[in-house]
């Protein structure tokens, strides 16, 4: 594909590079000076309390949102100031699993997964079918291809959405909570699948997750986001052992600590729980 040439000459340059990112909604600053580097081939996890802006960061990486200041670069291309047309072109190399799956409700499971294939390749029907079925089998759902999305359980729908997101084997995968609401068997299936495709295809993956135990099992590197900033980063083991109070609180699920559990409306003093 056209933008594969975008891989930088230097293999150490991160695939995704975020610098001094500031993002506001109205007068609320959601992200305030975030720096992130995601190396090629890695699986990087974003963790943080609900509503802190994890989905927002993914949207900034995929170019759906534009930063108020700071930059987002993918393979050296400045996503944050691309035109819509350039973005459209660029997205062919990015796979996104949205937090709620967002299956096309008027298409069957099969057609849902086949949509990106048909759009971006000229594969003959037999190959499309084989590709779709292989992905569907990989998420453990072979045999449901003719069902409509409303006939699936929440967990099944998430897995179908997963299959659709990875069907074209994009260079960069963004997963927004891929394992929430799945049973333990499905969780290990998805986890293994993420790891295997990532390593086999040399992908780079970004995963938003709440689940500390799971993150320790699949992530190479991990960012913890709290109050609009990176509160801690490192590989999961390092983070688990960290004594930084916000990291420690989040990794060990403590209610008491610097991260407020209750959402505070704008204007309320953030230090209220201290």
């Amino acid at each position: 594909m056209a933008t594969r040439d975008g891989t930088s000459p230097n293999p150490d340059t991160p695939v995704v590079r975020i610098r001094d990112l500031v993002f506001r909604r109205g007068d609320r600053t959601i992200l305030d000076g975030v720096n992130i580097d995601i190396p090629k081939g890695g699986i990087v996890a974003f963790m943080g309390p609900s509503g802190v802006g994890k989905t927002t960061i993914l949207r900034l990486i995929s170019g759906q949102l534009r930063p108020d200041s700071g930059t987002v670069e993918i393979n050296g291309h400045l996503i944050s100031s691309m035109s819509d047309r350039e973005l459209h072109h660029f997205r062919r190399n990015i796979g996104v699993l949205l937090q709620d799956g967002a299956l096309f409700t008027d298409l069957t499971v099969f057609e849902n997964i086949a949509t990106p294939v048909r759009e971006h390749t000229d594969l003959p029907e037999a190959l499309v079918r084989r590709l779709v079925m292989s992905k569907l089998n990989a998420v453990g759902l072979g045999g449901i291809e003719y069902r409509m999305p409303h006939e699936l359980s929440g967990g099944m729908a998430r897995r179908v959405a997963f299959a659709r997101a990875v069907v074209l084997d994009p260079d960069i995968m963004l997963y927004d909570e891929p394992m929430t609401g799945l049973d333990p068997i499905a969780v290990s299936t998805i986890r293994t699948l993420m790891r295997e495709t990532n390593d086999a295809l040399g992908q780079t993956s970004v995963v938003v997750s709440h689940n500390v135990t799971q993150v320790r099992q699949f992530a190479d590197y991990c960012y913890i986001i709290a109050s609009g900033r990176i509160a801690g980063e490192g590989n999961p083991e390092e983070l688990a052992a960290s004594i930084e109070p916000r990291v420690d609180q989040f990794m060990n699920g403590k209610v008491e600590g610097p991260i407020p559990f209750h959402y505070e409306p704008p204007g309320a003093p953030w230090g209220l729980l201290d």
């Binding site: 997205r91 062919r92 990015i94 949205l98 299956l103 048909r118 759009e119």
Partner: protein, 256 residues
Amino acid sequence: MALPATRLDRLTGPITEAGRCLQFLFRMLAGIRLSGPQILTVLQQTYLIGARSLVIIMICGFFVGMVLSLQAINALEQFGASDQVSLLVGKSLFRELGPVLTALLFAGRAGTSVTAEIGLMKATNQLEAMELMAIDPVQRIALPRFAAGVISVPLLTAMFSAMAILGSVVFAIGVIGLDAGIFWSKLQTGVYFEKDFLGGIWKSVVFGGTISLIAVYFGYSARPTGAGVGTATTNTVVLSSVLILIFDFIMTSFLT
């Protein structure tokens, strides 16, 4: 904040909106590819929104034809001219009532469902998911529905008029007992294909475009909530009905 600003907004709001709507139209037109799959989706949508409006259009057309003949005969009888009924029915039907009533019915039957469908897709992030797959939802979702509307409305108008003539035949010839030969010959000699019939069809193309543009645009720009989609659906009917009648007057005064 300040009062003058809101007043200005009231004035500029609709103008900005109209501008966005036109911009949306150009975005759609820029997406025309005439490729096999695209033509296929347009045909599919024409079936979904056009063919499915057929029954209601036919029923309404039939009764409009009957009531028109009834009123026309009542009026014409006073001058002993009730054999002119087909002329009156034909002219008023092909020029005005066919295009306008079909368009109003279409706005209620198909325009609303298009707005609701697109609005719901937006509310459930399906449009976002599409964009993320590098599929342009304007081209994939909005354009086929718009094109289907532009194609359907003239065809439905022709069908409406045909059924209305049938209704008129049933009433004038069947019920009142007028002479069938006179009925048809008046219609043939007095109603002109180009001026009356094609004039009406041209109007209906404009109406079809107006309704469809409003329907897809309102769906696309709906607030992504249940109430937002509801409001957008209502707005589609209200605005397209008003515009149909305004455009009808403008076109009638310029075309004839």
